[in-house]
Symmetry: D2
Subunit: 279 residues, 4 copies
């Protein structure tokens, strides 16, 4: 028996880091996953733990590095962590760190918002995924859980039919999805905050503006184009768009019409459309 | 054996109702629970279904009534439904309807937002719970899942100590909670939309402004006062505030201080503080 | 403004208690919720915490009492905890403790099972809910999440019809539910373990045997009767049976019949049938 | 912009298939995910749906194929579905089907169990994942959600220490995990049912018997060896073992000892140990 590959680490390390700029506080809310892969055969085969940094230490390291300095953007903090583990563990070939950020917004108070009171924000969570190897690094940025819906401007017709097809052409339907997008850039130094905001806005604007949607695939393509157009550093993007079906209710048994007004929102089953696009 | 009480109905009826005011669409997203209680002994004891309106029909009724006219506010739609079931089912003593509304906001586009593209909004879900009986009606409004956090302005000290107490006085701590509030009014005719918005804003403002918080209980009281002050129709309010603990990390083993900067967000266990307040 | 009622406490205290009878270990896995209600007006209105036992102390008390002696049955441990809080806190009028037990079974090994290796068991979770007041105590036992299904022996026909009814009579249908049952006894001293096992077995046997089911209501009644017949100490029982619909798929568009073979399992919407029965 | 890769399909198709062998019914409960990948550029770039089989048709196909004949084992049904889609869609390069089976066991009744009443079983869910390409097929079997725990026989000591390490050597600890295992075989024709049962039993037995566990990694290795020893057709196995920490409670502030009796079960953060092993 041989060890083809292995990795281990800590999942769901919950960190909230407050930065106190005088009266005005900033807040970052991260959930961190860490994985080390490398020459850990002795731990598996012999129960020899000498090279095994405890996952408890990985957790401590998240808090300690956050204590040394503010986290900065998710990508930056993930890089700090991954580089730390790679530097201190000679057996590690790859150190991976994933950060998921929960969004907060300031509560209203005066023009600039309250100095230290916050509300959970909408718009899904922000993602960063970093891999540090002995020969290089990769960084992926992203967002997850961005729920959007259009009440018109979307169709699905003229599709493939076989003996099991009962769906009819729809020239006007509700289009609802929960965007998951991950992307990578063509340079190491990126303004992560501006890049994230730019891609996010481009995806939302393209979704809203694309009123000639022929399918989820079609809108996905337009959204990808918008991301590339908005942010020149983005080299590659992966989009996953579930089709959260809203079924038009048949009210004819009750002698009523339903001109695109009454819908059943469903959660299962759902379509799922995914693609990777490259500049 | 006797039947002390009984109720039956349909849960999680998912309705999305679109109102097409020309180009500009409105959207309501409700999840509806229906319960009928009354003289249903024969169904239980004898398997006699003659008085049993199928829960499938309850589901159909949600969609049919939404087809007859727009839903309006959650309270109004719950009342329409409950009155319908009470009127058409002589065996029913009480018809209860609960509506949970998911919030959507328009995507940006010009000054007024996009006419038919929406994003899931933050701020928790809106609740309405109606009970219609032969001798009267009760209406409860509410919100759930409103997540807020303050990075300072909150303490917990000078509390009861016993032999199992290890907690130390905190003069400055993170205060995070997920507000669930339900309230009732002293009149049947209420501007439900204004009332909801007013209570919600009052709760948020009070939470943000209360910088002398001695405990969750203390802030709960202030939030209740603010709701009464903001909306004269509110007669009674119930508030449930979990204490979503953010633990200050002890960085001293690493030779570091932690001046209220690095926290572990936890989900279990959590405190839970509840009270009902009446004008 | 007045305080109509209030309660506070700790939720989701996770306890695993191991009893080491020599080589053979026993295991109990409890999640505990604690609530105190009483004269806590000063905490709310004045921020005066002198009577407020921290919820952190409640958590510690769970572990400390489990350290003093094995937990015993959920009802017994809930009573120990609730009596402790009532005894030590003069402001407390009611101390409530809810215990939810996750089931484990021994892994196979010889005739009696492995001495210290366990697998999560099926059959739902066991519940106990205790309320201790200055003038008495109440104990409720229960189970939750017991998922059962019958592929035949269940009907629903001859029901009430109105203009929104489209459901057709079913003489043979799948009946699936997730039983939640809670019951109370007519005496303070009960063999909790035997009582729980007896009620649970009675509910399962009645569900399985009732092949003339005319409705969920009808089977609920039979299940209640079986619980009373099996355990004389049970005085009152509440049963909540969701109807987890399994829809027969219409295969006729594909030129196929579907003689009760192919079903869509659904999770929403679902029926919910509840009743309280008393001896 | 170019399309690097793409796939689309239906997720969470819920199927319950009953086989009525006279009085004695059999039951399979599958959740099916389908994905097609291939030459779908026109759908994305041009909104041309002529090659796009609707995901609604994929869903229908699940039910239609289940109507034509019993599903058989998850692997067999996934193969039937994937081959169907590949055969009927020339644009498809790869058809992937994942099946997740929920376990049911017969309720007790006589020696052989009840003929048509079932209870949700423990032991996690069974997995099958199939990929059919123009040039070949791969089949992966698996299980997920198998929760096991040992109260002794597990240690973690003599590990790597750095400046952020606070964990102390543990010579005796609780070891709890939720096994996810996926494996592939070296031949196309496998007795899927016997293979699944054999691997599952081997994993459980190895977990129970390995009382000299030096780490999760160490036990993972032993479990992999056991799977290979039990089933000669298994060529490769991937094991993912979260370390569901059970923290020994410090009762010393209360003047009490805690000789491995009282534990806090935690859900986050948790360790995660993964490896792929090959014969």
């Amino acid at each position: 028996m041989r060890l083809v590959d292995n990795r281990y680490g800590k999942s769901k390390v919950r960190l909230v880091r407050v930065v106190r700029n005088g009266e005005r506080h900033e807040l970052r809310d991260f959930t961190v996953d860490i994985r080390l892969a490398g020459a850990y055969q002795p731990a598996h085969a012999d129960g020899d733990n000498r090279a095994v940094l405890p996952t408890d230490t990985m957790k401590n390291t998240v808090y300690a590095l956050a204590g040394e300095a503010p986290t900065g953007e998710p990508e930056a903090f993930a890089l700090r962590l991954a580089r730390h583990f790679l530097a201190h563990n000679p057996e590690t070939a790859t150190a991976s760190v994933a950060v998921r950020e929960r969004p907060w917004r300031r509560l209203a108070a005066g023009g600039n918002g309250h100095p230290h009171a916050f509300e959970r924000d909408a718009g899904g969570e922000r993602l960063a995924h970093v891999e540090c190897r002995r020969d290089g690094e990769t960084v992926e940025s992203g967002l997850d859980g961005l729920v959007v819906l259009k009440t018109t401007g979307s169709a699905f017709a003229d599709f493939r039919r076989d003996r099991f097809t009962t769906l009819r052409d729809a020239t006007d339907r509700v289009f609802a999805t929960e965007v998951r997008a991950t992307w990578s850039c063509d340079r190491p130094e990126v303004d992560w905050s501006a890049s994230f905001a730019g891609v996010r806005a481009a995806l939302l604007n393209a979704f809203a503006a694309h009123d000639e949607s022929k399918s989820v695939q079609h809108t996905l393509w337009i959204m990808g184009q918008a991301a590339f157009a908005a942010r020149p550093e983005v080299r590659r993007i992966h989009l996953a768009l579930p089709n959260l079906h809203h079924l038009l209710v048949d009210l004819s048994p009750f002698g009523m019409e339903n001109p695109q007004q009454v819908f059943i929102a469903t959660s299962e089953p759902h379509g799922l459309i995914e693609a990777t696009l490259e500049r």
